[in-house]
Symmetry: C2
């Protein structure tokens, strides 16, 4: 597996030879490169930032839920290190081309399509697809380069270097709707003139495990566990992530009207159960379950269809429902699906978009529940009009623009759909993760703790923050954690058999910690201190009426694990 | 002299009794209160921030150029400590009321007029003057409370809690155009519901020096020096601060088109000499010289009149000409005066406004030189429309909204009108001052150094940063420095005679250092590190074609004096 450096200023490519990177993958690779090569003070959209794509070590191996890849850079949203992770088939195709990672350097004004095939790299003018909706742009790319290719691309938001711009990958049906959404990585791609990457695996052989027999056995065990575990075998396939709506609403953690409270009077209208019933009833192109990666047993994704059974968007996930639904006072799945569709077409992070719109609503610029107002604001974003630019800058900046006091962000990034007063372990993750507010950096919702108590939340979050990078290194979907969390030996076995690089469960545990420390170390160079390891002050002082709690995890405990903590 | 605490939530007042504050004044008092009482992580617009007004120790004494006062808080623009300083007569009137300082606490939604007289404090509903231009609001206040009062007030920008909102005081003619402009203190006032403070000294006796004879003698010496020094006796009264236009243009330090270069082809049209000739020629209400404080010998201010001799705005200073003129590609004094007038009417910092508009112009949202476009954007600001909100958020946030690379700010605040590649000592001040980019925090333009060389700039800036707070503590205008810089004994003598508190020149030198250290200490608690003691990266890498220099003061030298430096 190779790593290439692409100089976007001069449009040249060379194979990277740095020994240290050779056995790294996923978040381990992206964070190491950012740490080692990007100055802490670099302008995120300037020539000294780098954008790194890196497959996990198991990506393309055929193991279930294991085709994920990481994208990393210094984030224009948080000013810190960022890794964002997605599934779909784009990483898989990169792997088929024998490539582990792509390191993009330099900036340029125009936009390029980077075509990668067995013949190498080719740069084409991206003008024909600029300003287009992503479905149209992706269709054009497959017309141009062949139906068999997979793509990565940015939308109009990334072209305009907006803070909430993501990078879209493609699912196995060809829809460009698998997002490395968080942290404004689409803006970094935009600054480098990367409109699209076309992964053309024509004539390339499928890669094989180094030790086929061992890999087959490990995979069998792994798949058995996935199929024996209720979460991965039943809940996710049936209800997807939206199963969480009822859970968080009960806990008082479902963000409602700009995180002002944690339960929503219309929550049943937008629950996973209602979503499933609606899609089953409507039939047609919709489906309550869908595998974003070929062979995935968990199949948490879905395809949302309208009343006529025609596909509207995919996937409609818990975070989208929380941030674009209850957080905006919107209680109708068709409305949420339409907003989600626009987000996917324009290339933005749905969480950050929901956060930005929520703050705007708190300032009465748009009213809560005003679906038409939201759609107009998103269309303004597409066209780069002032209100659209404001939305495009993300919740933190919207707060600054309007002098807002209640801005649900940590390190500049919108909280995902869990009020930190209702699930305090996630509050700890938001405050202390080098990624800013990000549930995938240390999800605690399934931990056996009293989510309303401050007790044990720091320990719980730290454990989650240290294990999350293991999945991101392996290329495994975090949703497999329900079946294999702590069973690191099986992951080590899979990786050893697939790559021929012999590693142990202990090695993986160390890897998780090391990645986290590397990220904290970068953030320290970028100027982060303990003062940044906090939530916005209103979470400490204003009660969430649904959970009847404030965020009261002691600051000294928080600081034991943050950017300058010793307990990492 | 008393210090009062005003609880804006409950509209109650009490006299402060903290011993430590009793002998402090000006910036020494504002920075000490912010340091001691505001949590480093406090939201600048939330209930835990405080807004402190503090007279200098000589304010109201009758010494020339000595009626200045400080306003301080945690800044919504920089996120750090802020002191902003102004002249005019409002501080003087506060002093006549026997008050050294006002500490505002708490927040509220509605707006109040705080009337202070010999009878105490009274709170009146500010509704009648909300949304009005400042000249109209000030006129209304004098109609309501008597022609003899002086006022402090915020404009529509402060009401809307915009980052570039300042606090306006009044000159001796009653115009509310003396600004504590920098750092968004008007937004802090807005968050606390402070629309106006009316200083009503009816029936109050003029305060007298404790030792009249000694004070008279010290004042005589001080005034003699002011009148013997060419800068204070001739240049300032004749040309005002605009004398600098030719100087900085020659040095390649006149910010031009968003700080892209340091000389402006139309600089002669906007020079101090042209300004003086224009005003003398037009006659009428205009004047090339004007004392903002009664009895000021320096009289650097002016009144700008139109072709018919009618007053347009006052003052038109170097910073306004640089930021609203050359920085926007505007080379006509009438145009600059009209933009300046609108800034004064809406209650904004002209420097930050020019910075924000410059970044917008760099992104082609408005064209360079488009006066009408600027006026429309400012009117949008008044009305809170999206583009106006964008301008109102200041240059740093505009940069984030548009994904701009070249944003001339330090610690989030727009650079005043000196390109740091052309006057490198000011670059050091911008990078290392706890105030962010602020020439008044450490002006080096008159230092005997090669401004294009990196040599000795750190030492020069540090000296200036340590002496500036002495003036701000005393209530002296920094422009007296040309005559008395280093002659600390005369200031000590004036203070000792006036207040009866015996101090020495050495005490003052220590005071300057202590204030600076207190401010750095607050910023450290607020999360600032060495990583913040830098200029934007393009100043290090992109040559200013006018000065033929980049900013090349070595970072290790810079870091010897910044937030965590030891040489302070």
């Amino acid at each position: 597996m190779k790593i290439y450096r692409i100089d976007m200023k001069n449009l040249t490519v060379k194979e990277d030879q740095i020994e240290k990177y050779k056995n790294l993958g996923g978040r381990a690779l992206t964070s190491q490169v950012v740490h080692d090569e990007v100055p802490g003070h670099a302008h995120p959209l300037g020539p000294y930032n780098k954008l790194v794509f890196a497959n996990g070590l198991l990506t393309g191996s055929g193991a279930s839920s294991a085709d994920r890849y990481s994208i990393g850079a210094k984030s224009p949203l948080t000013g810190g290190i960022k890794e964002s992770n997605a599934g779909g088939i784009s990483g898989l195709k990169l792997g088929r081309l024998g490539i582990r990672g792509l390191i993009f350097e330099g900036i340029r004004e125009d936009f390029q399509i980077i075509h990668i095939s067995k013949n190498g790299f080719k740069f084409d003018d991206a003008t024909p697809i600029l300003g287009k909706d992503l479905s149209e742009a992706a269709e054009w790319l497959r017309e141009e380069y062949g139906k068999h290719v997979a793509v990565w691309l940015i939308g109009v938001a990334g072209e305009q270097k907006m803070n909430l711009a993501g990078i879209a990958g493609q699912d196995k049906e060809g829809h460009p709707t698998r997002y490395n959404g968080r942290g404004g990585l689409g803006a970094v791609a935009g600054s480098k003139g990367i409109k699209a990457i076309v992964l053309d695996d024509e004539g390339v052989d499928k890669s094989q495990p180094k030790d086929k027999q061992r890999f087959r056995e490990a995979m069998k065990q792994y798949h058995t566990w996935l199929m024996e575990t209720p979460g991965t075998a039943k809940v996710f396939p049936e209800l997807g992530t939206s199963a969480l709506v009822r859970t968080t609403n009960t806990l008082g953690a479902l963000p409602t009207r700009n995180f002002s409270t944690g339960s929503f009077e219309l929550y049943e209208n937008i629950s996973g159960e209602t979503l499933r019933e609606t899609l089953l009833e409507r039939g047609g192109e919709g489906s309550p379950t869908h595998a974003c990666m070929p062979g995935c047993i968990i199949r948490c994704s879905n395809v949302y269809a309208d009343k006529a059974g025609k596909r509207v968007t995919s996937p409609l996930e818990y975070e989208n429902i929380g941030l674009l639904g209850s957080n905006l006072g919107i209680g109708d799945l068709d409305d949420i699906a339409e907003i989600n569709r626009l987000c996917n077409e324009f290339g933005v992070d749905t969480i950050e978009t929901g956060g930005a719109l929520g703050v705007l609503m708190s300032q009465n610029v748009i009213s809560y529940g005003d679906v038409q107002g939201v759609i107009e604001a998103l269309n303004d974003m597409k066209e780069g009009k002032p209100l659209g630019r404001i939305v495009g800058s993300g919740a933190e900046v919207v707060g600054k623009i309007y002098g807002a006091y209640r801005v649900p962000t940590a390190k500049g990034q919108t909280m995902p759909a869990y009020d930190p007063r209702g699930i305090k372990g996630l509050g700890v993750t938001y405050a202390t993760s080098p990624m800013g507010a990000d549930h995938t950096a240390g999800q605690t919702i399934r931990a056996q703790v009293d989510h309303h108590s401050p007790k044990d939340q720091v320990k719980t979050s730290l454990g989650a923050q240290q294990s999350a990078p293991i999945f991101d290194y392996a290329g495994l979907c975090f949703f497999s954690a329900g079946a294999i969390q702590g069973r690191w030996d099986i992951i080590a076995d899979l990786i050893s058999a697939y790559t021929g690089q012999e590693i142990s469960g202990e090695f993986l545990k160390d890897m998780g910690k090391n990645i986290l420390n590397t990220e904290h170390s970068f953030n320290k160079m970028a100027g982060f201190t303990k003062a940044d390891d906090r939530l916005p002050e209103y979470f400490y002082h204003e009660m969430n009426e649904a959970s009847k709690t404030v965020f009261d995890v002691p600051q000294e405990e928080l600081e034991s694990i943050g950017v300058e903590g010793n307990a990492r």
